[in-house]
């Protein structure tokens, strides 16, 4: 099965197409979505096992030889990301059954999710820089639909901003790829890596490095390019917010990581210092936002920024501990952010508001929700043995090994801010005098709890089972630090 690495892309795409034929039959759409995503998850797990056993999988579309055709590459890093993407999407889809509302379900909600996953997984898997642009467009166009779906006033306002920002960043992407092509004369990422190493990364290549950082930084939301994110992400309903927050920003992080470990590795003092400084500023900006707001959505959205800063700081260290930490923390963050968004979605459903000041005493009526949130909050802050701990420990270790005392201390201090920001939610929403609640459907509440509990359980398992997961993470970090293994796998001869 040489096409195995494409299955996590093709299966969601196929099911998305099939769903187009069942616009009005919501029940069939739900069943097909679950079947499609489950099949994709099965194929993704098989892929992880295959990559673990046989090393990097590559495939050149249409049987054209390697640097000319479009290459798809699945190393451990991308295989792990593809798998976690699909797992989160399945749980969010199940969560949507009871929370998104039939109106939206009729208007291509599930096909849009599946098309978006096609783009996300494609961007994770592709080994061709222009093809990465194409997959970015696939996921963006699907996300345009998702952000505007429902047509509330706020959504319309924010979607204009979202589309404008992303169209401009996509334009920059094409321009940058054109620059890059005019210098190295190839689009195949392995080939680009090799050619840049050959010419020794002159200044113009570093300029392209910064341009790519600009493009992917807008997607990932690094400082100072995150300005659009808090507003736009808060506009759509919570399941869509969960998908955006857990997956879309991570595609940007993945693209930065990939290009900054494969292309721009010959002038670390310049490119990676910029990356490090920006990641630290991102953390600071995220911390300020996370403490400043009394809105549930905003607090968690600003926590995304902190996580992105932490991951990119690990990447910019370019040593083994830092890279392993970054990979480990990236997947942890996808799981835990997904979980947190689902939980605050339930809190908003129960209380009817996202304003912390209007909540209180939920622990008396919704005790399981409170404890679930507390576990997720501790996981996010990185309290051992939960999943945030190991990743952050490795990143901190990488930082000290690199001699970045100041940056590492910022990372450590940010953990405290993260803990404070989420505990503040816990104190305001779950302690104190109970406020009068609108009667809500207990059954819907239970249906919404189910995927959230599973996602939190997965993240706990991810933390407790570090010992089993670590070989995979270390494989992923190994390929990132040793670009020649990636290049050899693609170009073979």
């Amino acid at each position: 099965m040489i096409n195995l690495l494409l299955f996590p892309i093709i299966i969601p795409f196929f099911f998305a197409i099939v769903l187009l034929f069942f616009k009005e039959q919501v029940r069939i759409q739900r069943i097909l979505t679950v079947i499609g995503l489950s099949a994709s998850i099965a194929s993704a797990f098989t892929l992880v096992m295959k990559v673990k056993q046989d090393g990097i999988q590559t495939l050149t579309l249409g049987s054209w030889p390697a640097p000319f055709g479009i290459t798809m590459v699945s190393d451990m890093f991308s295989a792990l990301l593809v798998t976690s993407t699909l797992v989160i999407t399945l749980l969010v889809a199940i969560y949507s059954f009871s929370s998104i509302g039939e109106e939206r379900e009729r208007f291509f909600y599930y096909p849009a999710i599946l098309f978006m996953i096609t783009g996300v997984n494609g961007a994770f898997t592709t080994g061709d820089i222009f093809n990465m642009f194409v997959f970015f467009e696939v996921l963006l166009i699907a996300s345009y639909l998702l952000i505007v779906l429902g047509g509330e006033k706020r959504q319309l306002r924010e979607s204009i901003k979202y589309i404008l920002v992303n169209v401009i960043s996509s334009a920059f992407f094409v321009i940058t790829v054109a620059y890059l092509y005019s210098i190295v004369g190839t689009l195949n990422m392995a080939d680009i890596g090799q050619k840049i190493a050959d010419i020794g990364q002159p200044g113009i290549v570093s300029v392209i490095g910064v341009l790519l950082l600009l493009v992917f930084g807008i997607k990932a939301g690094i400082f100072p390019l995150y300005f659009w994110m808090p507003g736009s992400y808060a506009a759509p309903p919570v399941p869509i917010l969960a998908l955006f927050g857990a997956l879309l920003t991570k595609v940007g992080v993945y693209a930065i990581t990939r290009t900054y470990t494969l292309f721009f590795v010959n002038d670390l003092a310049f490119t990676h210092t910029i990356l490090m400084v920006l990641s630290l500023l991102t953390i600071v900006a995220g911390c300020i936002g996370a403490l400043a707001y009394f809105d549930l959505k905003q607090i968690i959205i600003y926590n995304i920024l902190i996580a992105i800063g932490v991951i990119l700081f690990g990447v910019s260290m370019m040593n083994e501990a830092g890279m392993q930490g970054a990979v480990f923390y990236l997947i942890h963050d996808m799981l835990i952010k997904g979980a947190l968004f689902l939980i605050i979605g339930i809190m908003i459903y129960v209380t009817g508001t996202s304003n912390l000041r209007e909540m209180g005493g939920l622990i008396k009526t919704h005790a399981p929700l409170g404890w679930l949130f507390l576990i997720a909050a501790f996981g996010l802050a990185g309290i051992p043995p939960l999943s945030g701990f190991v990743g952050k420990l490795l990143i901190v270790q990488g930082g000290f090994e690199h001699g970045q005392l100041f940056g590492t201390i910022v990372i450590l201090a940010s953990s405290l801010v993260v803990l404070l920001s989420v505990i503040r939610i816990f104190i305001y929403a779950f302690w104190g005098e109970p406020v009068a609640l609108q009667p809500t459907n207990r059954k819907t509440y239970k249906h919404m709890m189910f995927p959230a509990v599973i996602l939190v359980a997965l993240s706990v398992l991810y933390g407790v089972g570090t010992e089993w997961i670590f070989p995979y993470v270390s494989d992923a970090a190994h390929v990132l630090l040793d670009p020649s293994s990636y290049i050899n796998a693609v170009l073979k001869e």
Binding site: N3, F13, F14, L20, L59, T60, G62, S63, M72
Partner: protein, 140 residues
């Protein structure tokens, strides 16, 4: 709004077929010469838009009673199906096959699976473009 469109309507009835035939020509020329499913699809869309201009939305919907969203789906399925056919033969995705056939009337003809893929593209382009035009034009 009643306008006297006799000239436009009469010429449209003829030119519609000329444009459609030309789009089919462009579509088949696509493999070795400029053209293909995308351009062919756009030309067909152009023909339908001309119909829309000369007559009105209701008339065109009655003449071409397709659900164009479904057309997009069929087109995508055709394209994906052709590309995925390579999975059955365990060759890289998108690998296409071709052979020479001695067809009656046409003589020695080269047939490609890429053509089926392209017809999928054709349907997607027509479906998407008409859906957009119908939803914008239908708002008034």
């Amino acid at each position: 709004m009643k306008k006297n469109n006799v000239i436009l309507q009469t010429t449209t009835k003829v030119t519609f077929f000329i444009i459609s035939l030309f789009s089919i020509h462009i579509f088949f020329a696509g493999h070795f010469a400029p053209g293909g499913g995308f351009v062919g699809g756009l030309l067909t869309t152009g023909a339908i838009v001309l119909l829309l201009l000369a007559f009105d939305l209701e008339t065109v919907q009655a003449t071409l009673p397709f659900n164009f969203t479904i057309v997009i789906g069929v087109g995508l399925l055709l394209s994906l199906g052709t590309a995925a056919g390579s999975i059955l033969f365990n060759v890289p995705f998108f690998t296409h096959a071709f052979a020479h056939f001695d067809l009656p009337l046409f003589g020695d003809t080269e047939l490609h699976t890429a053509m089926i893929f392209d017809s999928g593209v054709y349907l997607v382009v027509v479906g998407a473009a008409i859906t957009i035009i119908q939803s914008i034009g239908g708002d008034e």
